[in-house]
């Protein structure tokens, strides 16, 4: 029983998720949701890597995903800390109020 699902299917899913991630970053103003969208981006990459790993029969992709997950966790931790600190100062997480510097 052969599967009709090919590598490209997975890549499509990954690509759409990536696009959603980008869209989320651009559309949303809530820093937290933006961060969620960024996580979606990373997940899209993960999916692509896993799929490549599977279809190419090379393990490196999975290893990289491992690192990505670990780094993403660290990034989220740092990011949320910054957002919290920012909220403490400005009482907002809306990114379009971050415009004290321009010219």
């Amino acid at each position: 029983m052969t599967s009709e699902i090919t590598l490209n299917h997975y890549l499509w899913v990954s690509g759409l998720l990536f696009a959603l991630g980008i869209a989320g970053v651009v559309i949303r103003r809530n820093a937290l949701v933006i961060f969620m969208a960024l996580e979606m981006n990373l997940n899209a990459a993960n999916l692509a890597l896993i799929a490549f790993s599977k279809y190419n029969k090379i393990v490196d992709g999975q290893v990289l995903v491992f690192f990505i997950i670990a780094i993403a966790a660290a990034e989220v931790a740092v990011g949320l800390a910054i957002i919290v600190a920012l909220f403490k100062r400005k009482q907002t997480v809306s990114v379009n109020e971050l415009n004290s510097m321009r010219l």
């Binding site: 559309i27 599977k54 993403a72």
Partner: protein
């Protein structure tokens, strides 16, 4: 259509729907919940791709740790209703333009099958060993660097969240 394919379609569509929900929902809490679901469906896809170890980590780290952190922060900050403003038209438009353009380009790129220049012969489904062993052998240096990174993150989070200022 076999089980694998059915599950693929189910997980994919569900995951993407969750993704849409994340960015389309005005309530951050709901977004976070959708994101958890998305992570879980993603883990399902990983399983379909025989990446069991990664799937497990995905559930543990993402759906578990990361999402808890998110929810925690959302609750902590207690964002008021006024924060849940409507979307800015330009933002939505811009997001759709960029995402749409990206998808359109992906359509062209993925219109033909992606064939690698070389492929290996590792059997990834054979068990953890094949995945984890290289992690500590080949990839020792990145691993160490990641460790440093976590240290940095820890120091950073402590610093940024310390309440008192000496």
């Amino acid at each position: 259509m076999n089980v694998h394919d059915t599950l693929f379609w189910f997980f994919s569509i569900a995951m993407l729907l969750c993704g849409v929900f994340v960015i389309a929902n005005r309530n951050p809490v709901a977004s976070a919940m959708a994101l958890v679901l998305m992570f879980l469906f993603m883990a399902g896809l990983f399983v379909l791709l025989e990446a069991f170890f990664i799937a497990a980590i995905q559930v543990l780290v993402y759906a578990g740790a990361v999402m808890v952190l998110f929810l925690f922060v959302i609750m902590l900050l207690d964002i008021k209703a006024s924060e849940r403003r409507r979307f800015a038209f330009l933002g939505v438009f811009g997001g759709i333009v960029v995402a749409g353009a990206f998808v359109w380009e992906m359509r062209i790129i993925l219109s033909q099958p992606v064939i690698p220049l070389q492929s290996g012969n590792t059997d990834l489904s054979a068990g953890l060993e094949n995945v984890v062993k290289p992690l500590f052998q080949h990839y020792m240096l990145p691993f160490e660097v990641t460790a440093l990174l976590l240290l940095v993150a820890m120091v950073g989070v402590v610093l940024l969240s310390k309440k008192d200022l000496k």
